[in-house]
Amino acid sequence: MTALLPRRGLAQILALIVILAVDRVVSPQFFDLRLQDGRLFGSLIDVLNRGTPVALLSLGMVLVIATRGIDLSVGAVMAISGAIAASLADSHGLPVVLAASLGAGLVCGLWNGFLVAVLGMQPIVATLILMVAGRGIAQLITEGRIVTFASPGLVWLGNGSILGLPVPVAIALGMLILTGAVVRGSALGLLIEATGGNARASELAGVGTRAMILSVYVWCGVCAALAGVIAAADIMGADANNAGLWLELDAILAVVIGGTSLFGGRFSLVLAVLGALIIQTMNTGILLSGYPPEFNLLVKAVVVMAVLLLQSPKLSGFAGIMARLRRAKP
């Protein structure tokens, strides 16, 4: 029973169901799926496919936030890796392209991790540096143009399909399983949660807190780079100005909706990805409903507020006071 209805995550699953139901109302064909050329099509598949970049970002972001950090640079890292992939795609083989762009993400992650773990900078400031500089670097790589490519291998990454699923969805699923296996299969999960929960105590217990913090930023960089490659593959080009723009905020939002506190500690990879899907389901629903997309931002804002208010200890304290006052009244 507990396996069917986990107490943690119930709210997120319910939220997803509610939003899906609303989507069904505004668009009656929402749940329709059809198989064409060995690939599934339909709004649901679309949600998964469009949601992939943010889902990938949230996989890295959730670990960073679990250590009580934050990574604002993921959108810029997407732009960098997309720019590298697009620039190399037509002249090099796919392995080289992937190695170069993911390697760039790893270096970006190392940089962030170095600033936070070794120099002790506040994460929000440290990653702000790369958020600003990274987009500049991407623009330098593309020399300010939109670089297009036709390399079939890279295009397949964005538009192909495996076992009926779009390749990006399969990659995101694979990354979720890989990250889960590494984090929960080793002691990493416990040590990250301990570091985020109380870094001083963890350090005194012999936990290598710096190594923990460094590694989560590196992983976050790699995830962001992968998201950048997929986003570039999807549109068969790299636009340094717009690739990944503001997606760091969606990723943070996904993590927060997934129930991981910005104060670090307990985290859930699956719920963070679920958070990304909730956001995308909202986006798609609003697009299908025919409302102007601007509306999207407002709805998102309302959802953010609802989630944050629910997490606020002040609010629960306030609710407690109200309850006591009500009880005190005859």
């Binding site: 949660e193 301990a194 929960g197 005194l204 936990v207 307990r266």
Partner: protein
């Protein structure tokens, strides 16, 4: 002094935080023109008393009279307006503003809505001249030393017509010369009839400057004495709170000393400005107690021994082999464990479960790639929950929800799970109810009999006498005496603490 009118009268003040009674019916009397030292160990209630009197915390019971009129300030600002000013150790001024701006913040001389900078500077200069200070008042306050920042804060308070000046640990970060400047100003102010409350744990300074001493212990008033007629040993006894009752009967019979193998030794080990170099041998099956007043270097010694702080001189050996202790990880690798004094901030990870807190150090020691299987974690957690009687006996409960005593047991379990050779316990019984208190002491003895080496810090001298085989006494951040066997009793420890200190130990190494 006898006929001076009482300026500030505090009667029957009580204050609780949840179930913790921080102050119980405390009285305090400050006379006009006197310097009155408020003393007590950590957790005695000094800060709480100050905060209740100045309205930072609301009080549960009691009254405060200032010059005969009852006052009940509801904030530090209201207290200041009533005439009670407090200068904290960390000066509450704005380092980025100029000295003059700080002095006249909120009450700048104005003309037509514009601050008259020139007038303000002139008045600031005159004000500081009263205190014998001639500095550029237009420079940012942050450019000046802590001493001058203190004097600025005091000058501001006095200029705001303060009649009572509370100085909370004002000398903690001052050097000898700066302390003298501050003392000169304090005497000057006392002559003008201002009553000064001086909180400090430097007893030399207390004897140098104060007219009267009030001692608090565990939230209660122990007594008020005239400084001149209070011998130092008596003062320490008031602070540590033990009569010279012969408690040695509670001691386990002295055991064979020589048969014990040395577990870890520290030779000329120290860090400048932290603890003066010391020699320390810790043996298996032996408890070494560290005794001394607050700030005497006990916790500092513990942190050096464990590796939480890096020594800059001396040699550490584990089982005879020279080792380097650069970080807690090194300590853990060599089989050391450390339960810090601040359980909440340095010990537990409140959000994680009892099980996770218990296996944390063992897991960190094993490394990332060798995770403890869940079954083994459950097994370990169950074993220690049973062995140490942790309540409630639910390994999946977040540890933050447990009582202080049970949190302490979880920390002990964390280290016991690593099968350590040496455990360092810093105030293991602080903030723990009486039942759990005795249990922890029994555990310490048992662990020792099982072959562990223990280094235990405690402010409760009775307690130290009960379980220690040797006692190292610290004063002014130096190890000053070592007692062993029959010579361990409360009286000897007190005498060693009180022996006239030549406060050179620290200064010689800074």
């Amino acid at each position: 002094m006898e006929n001076s009118a009482s300026l500030l009268e505090v009667r029957g003040i009580s204050k609780s935080f949840g179930a913790v009674r921080a102050l119980q019916e405390v009285d305090f009397t400050l006379r006009a023109g006197e310097i009155h030292a408020l003393l007590g160990e950590n957790g005695a209630g000094k800060s709480t008393l100050i905060k209740v009197v100045t309205g930072v915390f609301p009080r549960d019971a009691g009254i405060v009279r200032l010059g005969g009129d009852e006052v009940a300030p509801r904030s530090a600002k209201a207290a200041l307006q009533a005439g009670i000013a407090t200068v904290y150790q960390e000066v509450n001024l704005l380092p980025n503003l100029s000295v003059a701006q700080n002095l006249f913040l909120d009450r700048q001389p104005m003309r037509f809505g514009i601050v008259r900078e020139g007038e303000m500077r002139r008045r600031a200069k005159a004000l500081l001249a009263d205190f014998g200070l001639d500095i550029d008042v237009s420079a940012p306050l942050g450019n000046y030393s802590v001493a001058i920042q203190h004097v600025t804060a005091i000058a501001r308070a006095v200029d705001l017509s303060a009649r009572v000046l509370i100085l909370d640990e004002p000398t903690a970060s001052l050097d000898r010369h700066e302390v003298e400047i501050l003392f000169r100003i304090m005497r000057q102010l006392a002559k003008r009839g201002i009553g000064i409350v001086f909180v400090s744990h430097f007893l030399d300074q207390v004897y140098e400057i104060s007219d009267r001493i009030t001692v608090l212990r565990n939230g209660r008033l122990v007594g008020e004495r005239e400084t001149a007629s209070l011998p130092r040993i008596e003062l320490i006894r008031m602070m540590l709170g033990r009569e010279l009752a012969e408690t040695t009967s509670a001691r386990a019979a002295a055991r064979e000393h020589e048969s014990r193998k040395v577990c870890a030794s520290f030779e000329n080990y120290g860090k400048s400005g932290y603890v003066a170099p010391f020699n320390l041998e810790l043996r298996h099956r032996e408890v070494v107690g560290l005794a001394g007043l607050l700030g005497s270097g006990r916790t500092e010694t513990a942190r050096l021994v464990f590796g939480a702080e890096r020594a800059d001189r001396g040699q550490a050996r584990v089982e005879g082999t020279p080792v380097r202790l650069q970080s807690p990880r090194d300590g853990v690798r060599h089989g050391f464990g450390y339960c810090p004094e601040e359980r909440k901030t340095d010990g537990i990870v409140a959000e994680l479960t009892v099980r996770e807190n218990i296996v944390l150090a063992l897991q960190a020691k094993r490394g990332l790639h060798r995770p403890l299987p869940r079954r083994e974690q459950d097994e370990i957690a169950r074993r220690y929950v049973r062995m140490l009687d942790i309540r409630p006996p639910d390994p999946e409960r977040p540890v933050g929800l447990l009582s202080g005593g049970n949190q302490q047991k979880v920390l002990l379990a964390r280290w016991l799970a690593t099968s350590p050779r040496l455990l360092v316990l810093d105030e293991p019984t602080r903030g723990i109810d009486v039942g759990a208190h005795a249990e922890i002491i029994r555990l310490i003895r048992e662990l020792c009999d099982d072959g562990l080496a223990l280094l235990v810090i405690s402010s409760e001298l009775d307690e130290i006498v009960t379980y220690s085989d040797r006692v190292v006494v610290l004063r002014d951040r130096a190890h000053v005496e070592e007692l062993a066997g029959e010579t361990i009793d409360v009286g000897n420890i007190l005498a060693a603490i009180a022996a006239d200190s030549v406060a050179v130990a620290l200064e010689a190494h800074t």
